[in-house]
């Protein structure tokens, strides 16, 4: 994914829409009635078609997740915490393992 000079909010909105769309499509492919179109007691290379179909959809979902992850804007450390950076935390009093 090439870095395009988008405004960040615009990027985030587009990302959210794309992700939502991918999720809906994925769910549709995995739910009846579409899934039952491939459940016809057929085999391909000796493997049941429905099994191949499900794994294929799965691979497509993973691929779309890779694309999504590569294209959505990154969150900066400031944004994540709301304010100051995390402090070193393992300094509780007298207790300890």
């Amino acid at each position: 994914m090439a870095k395009r000079p988008f405004v960040k909010e615009e990027d985030a909105r587009k990302a959210a829409e794309a992700v939502f769309f991918a999720q809906i499509c994925g769910a549709l492919l995995l739910l009846p009635p579409i899934i039952n179109l491939f459940n016809k007691r057929l085999s391909l290379f000796g493997v049941p078609l429905e099994v191949l179909y499900l794994f294929l959809v799965w691979i497509v979902l993973i691929a779309s997740a890779v694309v999504i992850s590569a294209s959505v804007p990154r969150a900066s450390a400031d944004e994540q915490l709301g304010e100051e950076p995390a402090q070193p935390t393992n300094e509780s009093g007298k207790e300890g393992g």
Partner: protein, 916 residues
């Protein structure tokens, strides 16, 4: 055949290795060198704590019994993770900014830091997850059995250890591990580096083990996927789905999607232990890939097992039995370690998550309620109290799991227990989605929805799971309570013929979400809820650092430090106070603590003891003069009113300013008019004075000088006469002008033919023209032009302009041209001459009073105008809705144009067009 001792010792050695791993990574994290342990891949691996022994062993069993259903358990989480940008990212962001420590904390914090909701969620979590822990214990004991006695005979033969004792031993070891690494400290963000490292390692082990067995079975024993399926077909096994994918497939998909967010252990690992939001970016595709790899071999292993193993063997244990029957003990042991890993990692994380919930939401509130005065806690440090309660609850949780395991004995397959648990925690889903996306969901809605869902779940799913052990429950299920068949747990309201799971998921989620929505609509939010709702729902819209300031404080710093120290420990409390520049020692003087600091302190404390408890605790200290939220809102309302009032004032002052401006303008206009009047008077006086002076001097001469001859007398008298005529004319014109300007009472517009008026005017001027030998020519003329005007006045205008044109014309061949025409709406007359014209400097004010374009020397001649004629004409034409203007004509001299509207037409637009 492996000896049981060897298997158990291997397991113990493995746990020992986990101890070391956890210890090392904890130590590294403490030194700030967490590096590799905080990578996105370690995070992803740790999320796969989702794959428990239920997955490891049970998936093969499910595949053998129910075909592809096991895939739904992985596909649900895949969908959720592919869409991580939508839900998981929001959860992580909220949890980081609000220091959320668990599912219960999330919901309680969102719904106004409600303790009741937190307790309810904790209770549901404990009830749903305990069977799940029992399931892991069961998986471990049966796997030890399976791997050490291939015949699968009952336990009790293992060097004096029966199943129960074995399970108890495992539970104890797990409890020790979890207590050591899960409760090392009360962490601000509840992150456990050592545990995460161990879990990630275990995740890698179980994946490698499962794939190793898969490759061994499919390629080593079966000869490839195709042959495995072919062999299954030969053995008479149906390799296809036993029917359409129906409601049960959908229900499992929904449940697994819900579980990967709502299960306390998943929430703990995915949300709470997340150290960087960007790790989700990797997990978004890597976790689905992990699940994919975990399930590629499941179906072939199941089919191969079904085809080759005796019919009575347990398909849940195929993954151990297949390598063993092929004589590959090492692989079987590895597979056992893989299964052991998946079971232990689940036990560890689930018990940490539950213990945090129990200690923060059940123990803390009780402790806080019991000690009204914090002073009385003495040296009972709150942090210590928390740690102790966590340790006890971990032990308690594992003990509960053990008891459940002990009671249910060796019933049923693994999968049903897992799904029961999933259905239980799925009851958090409606509230959670409402928490993230529905601003107006109320705490009453969340509590009642979750409670109704939980009760329905207990009735339709949990209770029936005891069917086989309790005859009373079996009767109840067959006949319904008190014989009311409509309330039968698995046929609620007569909904029969559905799979029990589908039945339960449908009713529980319907009731849960329905109640949530209805009650939320019927009740209203408290002020705190409203604030929290905005914080949660609009987390991405908020500017960083803008926390609402919930507690106003003028508590003494000593008191605050006292509380902070007890929760956070002395060291961290000191750091917190010092970084915020708040004195904490010996400052008994009330130091003005900013509310921002109190908010920050509350948030830090929430990271340790939960939002609800932190709020209660701090409220107690600041309670001295704390302002209740309602009061705050009231104050805010008042402020709002003041702002509105001042806004009104501002509005008024703007109005006043504009009025003053108008007055100023009117005033300057008046002054201008006054000045004009003065000018007029002085001009009139000047005009009157000249003839008066000559009249006076000539009459004096006549009076004094008696030697004048008749001729001279005659001349002087005639001058006096001329001058008095001139004077009269001037006064007439002034009166005329005054009458015009102040509105003539007898002014009357009637319909007249302007052409006739023009003809008459030309005739009147003929004498004058002949006298001055000027040619007056009418060029093209309109034949008729009916206008609405006063005929006499119009004639006056024409005569005035024509007479001017004649009398001022001193050209060699003087002439005046008169043209007239009509357009669609106007009647136009142009009167042009070839005289000297109007000099440039006079053109703009030629229609003003007393303006004469000719040199002053002419004044004395009787023919010269007084400078009022054009002004009067101008005023007259205007009164007839027309226009008089000076234009550039085709002759060299002046050219006046008179435009009058034809009868019944406005002139303004037309005037613009004609002149333009």
């Amino acid at each position: 055949m492996l000896s049981p001792d060897f298997v158990i010792l291997t397991a113990i050695a493995y746990v020992g290795f986990l101890f070391i791993l956890a210890y090392v990574s904890d130590a590294r994290a403490k030194r700030g060198k967490s590096g590799i342990f905080r990578s996105p891949f370690v995070y992803t691996l740790s999320i796969s704590v989702y794959c428990t022994s239920w997955t490891f062993y049970g998936a093969v069993g499910t595949a053998a019994r129910d075909g592809l259903e096991f895939l739904a358990i992985y596909l649900g989480p895949t969908l959720v993770f592919v869409g991580w940008w939508l839900i998981l990212r929001k959860l992580v962001r909220i949890s980081h900014s609000q220091r959320i420590t668990s599912v219960a904390d999330l919901l309680s914090s969102r719904f106004g830091k409600s303790s009741r909701l937190a307790v309810l969620v904790t209770l549901i979590a404990v009830v749903s997850v305990t069977p799940y822990i029992a399931l892991q214990l069961k998986a471990i004991t049966s796997s030890i059995q399976a791997v050490s006695s291939a015949t699968g005979s009952s336990g009790g033969t293992l060097v004096g250890l029966d199943d129960v004792r074995l399970a108890f031993g495992i539970a104890t070891v797990m409890a020790i591990f979890t207590i050591l690494f899960g409760t090392r400290n009360v962490d601000a963000r509840e992150q456990h580096h050592g545990v995460v490292a161990a879990i990630a390692f275990e995740a890698a082990v179980k994946l490698v083990a499962f794939i190793a067995v898969g490759i061994f079975v499919v390629y080593g024993l079966g000869g490839g996927f195709e042959k495995v399926y072919a062999r299954a077909l030969e053995a008479g096994i149906d390799i296809h789905e036993k029917g359409d994918f129906g409601t049960r497939w959908v229900a499992v998909l929904v449940l697994s999607s819900a579980a990967v967010i709502c299960l306390p252990r998943q929430f703990q690992i995915t949300i709470v232990e997340n150290s960087d939001e960007n790790h989700l970016r990797t997990a978004g595709w890597a976790f689905p890939t992990y699940l994919f790899l975990m399930s590629v071999f499941t179906l072939p292993i199941a089919l191969y097992g079904l085809a080759t193993r005796p019919a009575d063997s347990n398909p849940d244990m195929f993954i151990l039995a297949l390598p063993m029957s092929a004589g590959n003990d090492a692989l079987a042991l590895f597979a056992f370690i893989g299964g052991f890993s998946s079971a232990t990692s689940m036990i560890i994380v689930a018990s940490i998550a539950l213990s945090i919930m129990v200690s923060n939401h059940v123990v803390m509130p009780i402790a806080l309620r019991r000690s009204n005065n914090l002073e009385s806690t003495g040296d009972r440090d709150i942090a210590q109290l928390l740690l102790r309660s966590r340790r006890i609850s971990i032990a308690g949780m594992l003990f509960l799991g053990f008891v459940y395991f002990w009671l249910t004995g060796d019933s049923d397959a693994l999968a049903p227990i897992g799904l029961i648990s999933f259905a239980g925690v799925a009851q958090f889903l409606p509230s959670m989605l409402a928490a993230l996306y529905w601003r107006h969901a109320t705490v009453h809605g969340a509590i009642s929805g979750t409670l109704v869902g939980f009760i329905t779940w207990a009735w339709t799913t949990f209770l029936p799971s005891f069917q086989s052990t309790s005859p009373a429950i079996a009767t109840l299920m067959a006949e319904g309570p008190w014989g009311i068949s409509i309330l039968r747990p698995q046929a609620l309201f007569g909904m029969e013929g559905f799979d029990p799971l589908v039945h339960s998921v449908f009713w529980t989620l319907l009731f849960n979400a329905g109640t949530l929505v209805c009650v939320s609509l019927a009740t209203s939010q408290s002020a705190l809820e409203r604030i929290q709702a905005t914080l949660f729902v609009d987390i991405f819209r908020r500017h960083p650092g803008s926390q609402p300031q919930i507690l106003r404080g003028s508590a003494t710093t000593d008191e605050l430090f006292f509380v902070a120290e007890r929760v956070l420990g002395w060291q961290r409390a000191k750091e917190l106070f010092e970084t915020s520049d708040v004195p904490h020692k010996g400052a008994s003087l009330p130091f003005g603590v900013s509310s921002a600091f109190i908010t920050k302190l509350e948030r830090e404390m929430a990271g340790s003891i939960g939002a609800a408890s932190a709020h209660v605790l701090l409220s107690k200290v600041v309670a001295g003069d704390s302002v209740s939220l309602e009061e705050m809102m009231r104050i805010a309302d008042e402020t709002q009113q003041v702002i509105e009032y001042s806004h009104e004032l501002e509005q008024k002052s703007i109005e006043l300013r504009s009025t003053a401006q108008q007055l100023r303008e009117a005033n300057s206009l008046l002054q201008e008019l006054h000045r004009q009047k003065d000018d007029f008077l002085s001009q009139v006086s000047h005009e009157v004075r000249t003839p008066m002076t000559s009249i006076r001097s000539f009459s004096e001469i006549l009076l004094m000088d008696e030697n004048l001859n008749a001729d001279q007398r005659q001349r002087f008298v005639s001058i006096i006469h001329q001058e008095s005529v001139r004077l009269t004319k001037l006064l007439d014109e002034i009166l005329d002008l005054s009458a015009l300007e102040h509105g003539e009472s007898d002014w009357e517009n009637t319909s007249v033919d302007a052409e006739q008026v023009l003809d008459r005017a030309i005739a009147v001027c003929e004498a004058l023209a002949r006298q001055k030998s000027v040619t007056v020519e009418s060029r093209s003329r309109a034949r008729a032009g009916r206008v609405y005007a006063n005929a006499d006045r119009l004639s006056q205008v024409f005569i005035n302009i024509i007479a001017n044109a004649i009398s001022h014309n001193n050209a060699e061949d003087p002439k005046v041209q008169i043209t007239s025409w009509t357009t669609a709406e106007t009647y136009v007359v142009e009167i042009c001459d070839n005289g000297p014209g109007i000099p440039k400097e006079y053109r703009r004010k030629i229609f003003d009073k007393f303006v004469r374009a000719s040199p002053a020397a002419d004044v004395s001649t009787p023919t010269s105008g007084l400078g009022l004629g054009l002004n009067i004409s101008y005023t007259i034409v205007k009164k007839m809705n027309g226009a008089l203007e000076l234009v550039d004509g085709h002759l060299p001299g002046a050219c006046f144009r008179i435009v009058l509207p034809l009868e019944g037409v406005g002139v303004k637009a037309e005037r613009a067009r004609v002149s333009g």
